[in-house]
């Protein structure tokens, strides 16, 4: 016990350091941050100008692929997301596969920054069915060290996903992909033609209004926006409102970002009608997550909005409804 600002307790220090053992996995970011800012650039494997269309394809091994994209703000408070994803990725897969939410998930990761001031405003990986997605995560450049701007270039990522993806789940089976956007800022009002030309390389001449690109995006993806609920800046209400105006009930307010993998898995489970919320929370415990409270809170609005979308006639009277606290299953 000292009167310094921070605890010197040996045991809590050990715990803090242990939570960081995934750190060195971000070798690319570590290397880049040791160089001049002018030299910072996106890793080849995540460069939006390379292999310009991201494909999610069926294969003999994965005959019914289902595309899932997770694209997160790599700045500010969201900087811990890649680490969380990397540590919990096996658990996410475990839930999706073992609990039967999806048979053949293919996951793609991406990073979002601010095209007006960041060196690396957009990073997009490939759809992968195996642990190669780990490599993509490891190559993500974590440019952000804080800041506090209100806006990031989410619209640029939405543009890329709308126009630069090709997915068998949609093209062969009419099932849209999943897109999870994670962030704690707002998007700019337009996709700027100049940024598209510079960062993605498309020959676009006119700016595209945000609402237009959102509409286009939703023809290809079921889009969810996850916003941290314990935001430090006291303006979470405005941010949440902004995203609700675009994605309605698909905005998920999550109090603890460490639970992002479980939240994504259960959201998919709910949408696939594989589970109701109570079952999903039980699955979390089965797989060894201790985040049922935070995930339950985050997904309760979504789960209940799904249940009221169902007409009373279709409900099995005396079924799920009479179980206290149990969300309605479709």
């Amino acid at each position: 016990m000292g009167s310094g600002a921070w605890s010197t307790n040996v045991y809590s220090a050990a715990k803090e350091y242990r939570t960081r053992t995934g750190k060195s996995a971000f070798a690319y970011s570590d290397t880049m941050s040791g160089t001049n800012r002018a030299d910072w650039r996106v890793h080849d494997s995540l460069d939006p100008t390379q292999a310009n269309i991201r494909e999610s394809r069926d294969s003999d091994e994965h005959p019914t692929s289902q595309a899932i994209s997770v694209i997160f703000d790599v700045t500010g408070s969201m900087g811990s997301i890649p680490r969380t994803l990397q540590t919990k990725l096996p658990g996410l897969f475990g839930l999706l596969l073992r609990k039967g939410y999806l048979a053949h998930p293919q996951i793609m990761f991406g990073g979002i920054g601010d095209a007006t001031c960041d060196r690396v405003p957009l990073q997009v990986g490939q759809f992968e069915s195996d642990n190669r997605m780990d490599d993509d995560l490891g190559n993500i450049f974590l440019e952000g060290g804080g800041g506090g701007q209100r806006t990031e270039s989410y619209e640029l990522a939405m543009y890329f996903m709308a126009r630069h993806t090709s997915m068998d789940c949609l093209e062969k089976r009419g099932r849209r992909g999943y897109l999870f956007l994670l962030g704690d800022e707002m998007a700019y009002g337009h996709v700027k033609a100049s940024e598209v030309r510079d960062i993605i390389g498309d020959d676009v001449t006119e700016d595209i209004p945000l609402t237009d690109i959102v509409a286009e995006l939703r023809t290809k993806f079921e889009v969810y926006f996850i916003v941290p609920g314990n935001a430090y800046h006291g303006r979470d209400a405005a941010i949440t409102k902004f995203w609700r105006s675009l994605f309605g009930q698909n905005v998920i307010v999550l109090d603890d970002l460490a639970a992002v993998c479980e939240t994504i898995a259960l959201t998919i489970g709910l949408n696939e009608e594989a589970i109701d919320l109570a079952e999903g929370l039980e699955h979390l415990t089965d797989v060894g997550f201790d985040s049922t409270d935070v995930v339950g809170k985050a997904l309760a609005p979504l789960a209940s909005s799904r249940s009221i979308a169902v007409t009373p006639d279709s409900l099995d009277a005396g079924g799920a409804l009479d179980v206290p606290g149990k969300a309605q299953r479709l």
């Binding site: 000292g2 045991y11 408070s77 969201m78 974590l142 440019e143 060290g145 804080g146 800041g147 800046h233």
Partner: protein
């Protein structure tokens, strides 16, 4: 000041606002790193961002809120791997998630351990009512032990060699509470309690080694070549181990000397920026000639509470005499950064902030302290005695902030580079330079 290295030092007893000035210097996008060059985890440099986040920087540089700005802890810093973990966790919780990726530590730096802290607490307890205003973090004991046992004092580099580290930790644990801890000890051996096992400490130091980037002495040269660096001083010149008012000092060189030595070694120069508040503060015991309790209520302190070891936060009028002494002790500065300009005479009209331009002795003769010529703690102790007997001559401060800045600049004979009207970078106004 745009394209040069800058050294930021506090011309008082600490707490002047070095953190907020360092943060501001880093906001222009031109500073490529922050280098800490003295003190250790007892530093408490508060920074508030424009969006309302607050962090007390202790070992991470106060420029850490700015994207991509790394921190380097030079070999003259006393590193506390235990406090570092908690500080990183807080930074992560407020949105700065990559702090360890941006931290490098010189392998020669000494580390502070729980045994240093235990010795620190034992010594302050033995002093009873005569505490020296220690922060209780074990900084002084780290320096004291290293002087007494230079070959046995654990360093950051030792953390990479578990056998060496264990030998040093075992030896330290043996000496703790005995007269062998430091031979010229002025405090008798004292019972120390509540100590962790060597194994537990070793585990933390192993994890620390896996987490941070430990570099050799050449690293700083590369940093200096890459672009303008901010040297962030800790504590205040008036607490300097040799020039401060003994025994109420710290075991650290708080002047620009360490930073200038590092720069000289690499053939580089820097602008020296001295930070002062519009009033005098002191956190803990020791002389503060212009102390005035009525100011304490007028000038609430948000980030400095009463510490269990350090004592309470004390306030006095702006003391130009003490600051002139600090300027002489550090060999001068090129410009001033003045903080808390927003509170100049804005409070209760019945309590006026004053300015002290002169001390007088009992006989009414003007008197000013002069820095020591070399290392003479007996002389400094006598100086401390004298300071308790003099009378500060305090006159009302000018009504306006502009008038105040003008007078402070004249009294200290240094131009003002930046004035701070609030805790955030947006509340800083560049005056010149």
């Amino acid at each position: 000041m745009n394209d040069e290295h800058v050294i930021v030092v506090d011309l008082g007893f600490g707490d002047a606002g070095k953190g907020t000035i360092v943060d501001w210097l880093c906001r222009d996008g031109e500073r490529s790193a922050v280098v800490r060059f003295n003190g250790g985890a007892q530093a408490a440099h508060n920074v508030v961002t424009d969006d309302g986040r607050h962090h007390t920087f202790a070992q991470f540089g106060a420029g850490t809120f700015v994207r991509g700005v790394p921190t380097h802890l030079a070999h003259t810093v006393l590193v506390d791997p235990f406090a570092l973990a908690g500080e990183a966790a807080h930074l992560e919780s407020i949105g700065v998630g990559d702090v360890f990726d941006r931290l490098t530590i010189d392998e020669r730096a000494l580390i502070t351990t729980p045994w240093h802290r235990a010795a620190n607490h034992a010594r302050e307890l033995a002093r009873g009512g005569n505490r020296h205003g220690s922060c209780g973090m074990g900084i002084g004991e780290t320096a004291r032990y290293a002087l007494a046992h230079p070959d046995d004092a654990p360093t950051v580099g030792d953390c990479r060699h578990p056998k060496t580290l264990r030998r040093k930790l075992d030896a330290m644990r043996e000496r703790l509470g005995t007269s062998d801890w430091a031979p010229d000890d002025d405090v008798p051996a004292h019972d120390v309690v509540d100590l962790p096992d060597v194994d537990d400490v070793l585990e933390v130091l192993g994890l620390f080694t896996d987490t941070v980037h430990i570099v050799d002495g050449g690293h700083i040269g590369g940093l200096l070549d890459r672009g303008p660096v901010v040297f962030e001083g800790a504590q205040g010149v008036l607490l300097d181990e040799w020039a401060g008012f003994h025994p109420y000092t710290t075991w650290s060189t708080t002047t620009t000397a360490n930073a200038l030595a590092i720069l000289a070694e690499h053939g580089q120069r820097a602008t020296r920026l001295g930070v002062v508040r519009t009033y005098t503060t002191r956190h803990g015991a020791g002389p503060i000639p212009t102390e005035d309790d009525s100011l304490t209520a007028l000038l609430p302190e948000h980030h400095n509470g009463t510490g269990p070891w350090q004592g309470r936060f004390r306030v006095g009028h702006f003391d130009a005499v003490a600051h002139r002494y600090a300027l002489a002790a550090t060999g001068g500065v090129d410009a001033l950064a003045v903080t808390h300009v927003d509170v100049v005479n804005t409070g209760d009209a019945s309590v006026r902030q004053g300015i002290c331009g002169e001390y007088r002795t009992d006989g009414g003769v003007p008197w000013a302290p002069v820095p020591p010529d070399g290392h003479d703690l007996d002389r400094q102790a006598r100086l401390t005695e004298t300071l308790t007997s003099i009378t500060p001559v305090i006159h009302d401060a000018p009504e306006t902030a502009e008038g105040w800045l003008d007078e402070a600049s004249k009294l200290l004979n240094v131009p003002i580079a930046v004035a701070s009207y609030g805790p955030t970078a947006a509340a800083k106004r560049r005056i010149c330079g």
